[in-house]
């Protein structure tokens, strides 16, 4: 099927996965509204969400056979969008799977939870798949508002409310920055279409307003992807949010913001690389170093993983600044790997925390390796992968990012990346030290490992190992997905002394 966007109906076809998911969210809301309340269980709604996720996945597969005309349409139908859609839907499905028992345990059994999750996913998919600033902003807001609510979903927990408020205030602030930046770019270029923007301005005649627009946009995105120094909200939001939502925040929400970041800066405004290079370079350096240092002194596992997640945003910024096909492909690969390992890690944290999230200190993990060998071994696997040690997906992903950075001539960033990785080893090892090398704490009440959560864990673990041992297929897919993505901006001068192609 070929879409040329002459008919308005074409937009519906182009947005079919999003449409399916949005319909699903509304249907779930309505069904939940009419169903009997107070039975302390919202699993049914959750399975409904799984159904619609599967349908959206099918629509996304159908989308693979669709061709678009031109590369400046408002809605992109390209490999990048389809690949990220798969990641978001997968992350959403994993989040649903790990939410079932958590919601019951923490008594957050309103069905809106799953509907909001779907709405957030719709926002993400629009965000990562559009080529128009307006649409991108709409996607952002759709995603963010749903996620603000999700972060504060545990109404009985003041930490959750605090996290939600903090996230909301700073998120709204960031949205303002984004809008300012978009407005300035619209003013100088006369278009909101990011495919046309660099042509309209012309890379040689960049004025102060364009640069200001780029800077504001970068700051807005900096907030959204929690780049240092705009990361202050992240640890609090991650710690206070219900744990499945934290996993969702870490994997999908950040990934979606990054996808839009890359689509605007690398694909759309790649011609302006010399102008936005400096600010992103500093973002990357600070975001790699500072959170890794901060994580060294954390005693709460969720907070530790939150800082770790900020540091991973720093690694992804290196992929972004490389601004080449390897960079974009490494982003896609890393996002898959990262989703698997961070969701898996949070899933284990979620179960071990026990009712009321009581056990979240690192000292609660003492001796876990011998009292609960399976949980500890799998958590260790995810931590090793997050640390980027072979033979796991995290290593191959980090290797890919490094490869892109060296290709683009950013040897200095590559060195900063490995040094910050070294620092990060210390705190990942700290958890492992506690689990395996310290005597067990006093026995605690047993925890239940629900079947759905087990399934999610097994999927995450398999992905983490397989992508580490046999990465060639996902690597190929990631690279194919970004083929030709930068044709619009193909004449960007490459800063690399030793780069090829």
């Amino acid at each position: 099927m070929q879409l040329d966007f002459i008919s308005h109906l074409d937009y519906l076809w182009a947005l079919l996965p999003e449409a399916v998911l949005a319909t699903g969210a509304l249907v779930l809301l309505i069904i939940d509204g009419f169903s009997r309340r107070g039975d302390g269980d919202n699993r049914g709604v959750g399975w409904g969400a799984m159904l619609f996720l599967a349908l959206a996945m099918a629509a996304n597969i159908w989308l693979m056979g669709v061709e678009e005309v031109g590369t400046t349409g408002m809605v992109a139908i390209d490999g990048f969008r389809i690949f990220t859609n798969f990641i978001f839907l997968g992350a959403g499905a994993l989040t649903v799977l790990i939410s079932f028992d958590y919601n019951v345990r923490e008594d957050m059994t309103d069905g809106e939870y799953y509907a909001l999750l779907l709405f957030a996913l719709v926002g993400m998919m629009i965000l990562a798949g559009s080529r128009d600033l307006i649409l991108i902003f709409l996607g952002f807001e759709l995603m963010s508002i749903a996620v603000y609510v999700l972060v504060g979903f545990n109404r009985k927990d003041p930490r959750s409310a605090e996290a939600s408020l903090k996230y909301f205030l700073l998120g709204a602030f960031a949205s303002a920055f984004l809008l300012y930046g978009m407005a300035l770019l619209l003013g100088t270029s006369g278009t909101t279409n990011i495919g046309l923007m660099s042509l309209m301005v012309g890379a040689d005649s960049v004025g102060i307003l364009t640069i200001a627009g780029l800077a504001l946009l970068a700051i807005g995105f900096g907030f959204k992807v929690s780049a240092v120094p705009f990361h202050i909200w992240t640890p609090d939001a991650y710690e206070g949010a219900p744990t499945p939502v934290t996993a969702f925040l870490g994997a999908a929400v950040k990934g979606a913001a990054f996808a839009a970041f890359i689509r605007i800066f690398v694909v759309g405004l790649g011609d302006f690389h010399p102008y936005w290079e400096t600010i992103i370079w500093w973002f990357a350096v600070l975001t790699m170093m500072l959170p890794n240092l901060m994580a060294l002194v954390q005693n709460n596992i969720k907070r530790l993983l939150a800082y770790s997640s900020i540091a991973h945003a720093g690694y992804l910024l290196v992929a972004l600044i490389s601004a080449n096909e390897s960079g974009m492909a490494s982003f896609l690969f890393y996002l898959v790997a990262y989703t698997a390992m961070i969701v898996g890690a949070f899933a284990i944290v979620l179960v071990l925390a026990g009712k009321g999230d009581k056990y979240q200190q690192l000292s609660d993990y003492n001796g876990l390796g011998w009292t609960r060998p399976w949980a500890a071994a799998i958590l260790a696997l995810f931590l090793v992968s997050l640390a980027g040690l072979p033979p796991t997906a995290g290593f191959v992903g980090k290797f890919y990012i490094l490869r892109a950075a060296v290709e683009a001539g950013y040897l200095n960033l590559a060195v900063v990346l490995v040094v910050s990785t070294l620092i990060s080893y210390y705190y990942y090892l700290r958890v492992i030290v506690n689990m395996y090398m310290k005597p067990a704490a006093e026995p605690r009440e047993s925890v239940t490992w629900a079947g759905s959560l087990r399934t999610a864990l097994v999927i995450c673990a398999i992905v983490t190992i397989l992508m580490g041992l046999f990465p060639s297929w996902p690597l190929l897919k990631a690279r194919q997905s970004v083929d030709g993505l930068r044709q619009v901006a193909a004449h960007v001068t490459d800063p690399s002394p030793i780069a090829r192609n």
Binding site: W370, L389, L402, L411, V418, L429, M437, P471, I498
Partner: protein, 524 residues
């Protein structure tokens, strides 16, 4: 597949690399009662399968044997490439030889969490053997890093009091070097793509590169740092005494006998042949030689002061590895071959020393030298073994240590007589720290009454130590078969270096450049 086929193809190497990991994972599911037997059986299988390689290895051939190259991540030119040559063959056999011994050493010493212990031990061997046979830079790096995790657990879980500190220090020190090496590997990849137009991480491909200039120096520095930390060379050695003292006996044995050799091996396999220009730079050679000499003398003095038996042995490792580095960076065929041989010798004699120290600890739960004395009267068999091993470690003629040290000294003398002069004092220092230790442990009078009740070596302990003692004597009396296996590869290495030297001094010509890259027939 016939047996001859097995030993002439890569299957023997592939089997040796992955069998321990498979057996290690199986360890997690074996009933407790059969666990040790199973681990020992796996170790024996590994050793017996590897043993014929000593004879099937074709002496005098410089090509990699048992070579294989199967695409792994074709997009990036990464392949599953393995190969064996004179530099690695003895190290492989040393590793497999020590595996069953390590299991036996742990037999009575490890009583907690045995399943995980044997699993880690076996997986560690997979990583080490992988390092010794990998012929692809990416694959090499993967194996190099894989060795970190099991060793970290072995020290951290089954070690002594300060085990966590030692384990984390070990991990961070080694990881620091290897991460910079990773960046250098990536730069090499792009340089190769630049010069030859196709993606490859294969080691034989990398040998064809002609880098030169500051780039070559920095790449060499990144590789050399990773390896120097692992060796460990003088200023980077501080992690070693901690790791050794805290590790369980088998951990110390593996650490001293083979893990450290990965560093020297890295120099011989990668840092020197890939960057001959930088390695041959006079300032680099001087730095390496001086650091090696400092290692020999300084570590000897520190060792002499140690009240702790295990720490003393740890410092002797630093001194011995200093010898090896001196031999390597003298760039004479005899020096390099002596270095390789000395690595094996050191693995056997230091491994034996750690094992004997472990026997003492098993009996008295202390490594303090002052706690012993007069053991010759109480435990004569043990004392005999300790004395022989210590003499082998010092380098007494007739025992293995002598051959390697002698070759290194002669090899270095051919180029740098003054280096030999300083290094030879190291042999004297070795006597200076080792003999007083022997005197205080074995001779003297029995000062501590508790020692009177010590038991002599059990049958199990004899089974552990006798093969090591036999090998010390064999390699000391008749080292020829061992040297033969090394010399073709060490000759090639030195030849390659010299071709570069000629080229640099006589102005770079295309002919000379072709000579370097074609100086070795490559397996394609």
């Amino acid at each position: 597949m016939s047996l001859a086929n097995f030993y002439s193809s890569h299957w023997v190497v592939t089997f040796l690399v992955f069998f321990p990991a498979v057996a290690g994972i199986a360890c997690l599911f074996i009933p407790k009662g059969w666990l040790k037997q199973f681990a020992f059986g796996a170790g024996m299988v590994e050793f017996l399968v590897s043993l014929p390689m000593f004879w099937t290895f074709q002496v005098g051939r410089v090509e990699y044997q048992n070579f294989v190259s199967i695409p792994w991540i074709p997009d990036w030119g990464i392949s599953y490439s393995l190969g064996v040559d004179g530099i690695s063959i003895l190290l492989i056999l040393l590793t497999t030889f020590l595996l069953p011994i390590s299991v036996l050493v742990s037999w009575e010493q490890i009583n907690t969490k045995e399943r995980a212990y044997y699993a880690m031990l076996l997986v560690l061997v997979t990583g080490i053997l992988g390092v010794f046979v990998a012929m692809d830079l990416f694959l090499f790096y993967v194996f190099w890093e894989i060795t970190l995790i099991p060793m970290y657990f072995l020290i951290g879980v089954w070690g002594h009091e300060r085990r966590i500190y030692a384990a984390v220090k070990f991990f961070l020190f080694t990881a620091f070097g290897s991460l910079l090496m990773l960046v250098a590997i990536l730069v090499l990849f792009w340089v190769h793509l630049d010069q030859f137009g196709f993606a490859s991480m294969a080691y034989p491909e990398m040998l064809r590169l002609n880098i030169g200039g500051a780039m070559e120096f920095w790449l060499f520095a990144a590789f050399a740092l990773a390896f120097a930390i692992k060796v460990p060379m003088f200023p980077f050695h501080t992690w070693l005494p901690d790791a050794h003292v805290e590790a369980p006996t088998a951990g110390s044995v593996i650490l001293a006998a083979v893990l450290l050799k990965m560093g020297v091996y890295g120099f011989l396999r990668f840092a020197i042949p890939l960057f001959p220009g930088a390695a041959l730079d006079p300032s680099v050679v001087m730095t390496m030689l001086v650091l090696g000499l400092i290692g020999i003398t300084y570590a000897a003095w520190v060792a002499a002061m140690q009240p702790n038996l295990k720490k003393l042995i740890a410092y002797t490792s630093v001194a011995h590895l200093g010898f090896v580095m001196v031999g390597t960076f003298a760039f004479t065929s005899m020096g390099v071959a002596g270095g390789v041989l000395q690595m094996v010798n050191h693995g056997i004699s230091t491994g034996a020393l750690f094992i004997l120290a472990g026997f003492l600890y098993q009996r008295r739960h202390t490594y303090e030298i002052a706690e012993y004395g007069g053991l010759a009267k109480i435990v004569p068999v043990f004392s005999t073994a300790l004395v022989i091993t210590a003499l082998a470690s010092i380098g007494l003629p007739g025992l293995n240590g002598f051959v390697g040290e002698f070759m290194i000294l002669v090899g270095a003398f051919l180029r740098y007589p003054w280096v030999t002069l300083v290094a030879a004092t190291g042999v004297v220092f070795a006597a200076y720290y080792m003999l007083p230790m022997i005197r205080r442990v074995v001779w003297n009078d029995v000062t501590i009454e508790e020692n009177r009740g010590l038991l002599d070596l059990s049958r199990l302990e004899l089974a552990i130590i006798v093969p090591l003692l036999l090998l010390m004597v064999l390699m000391g009396v008749y080292p020829k078969p061992f040297i033969d296996r090394v010399s073709a590869s060490s000759d090639w290495l030195v030849e390659r270096i010299e071709v570069v030297a000629e080229q640099r001094s006589g102005g770079a010509s295309d002919v000379a450049a072709a000579d370097i890259t074609e100086s070795r027939p490559r397996n394609r």
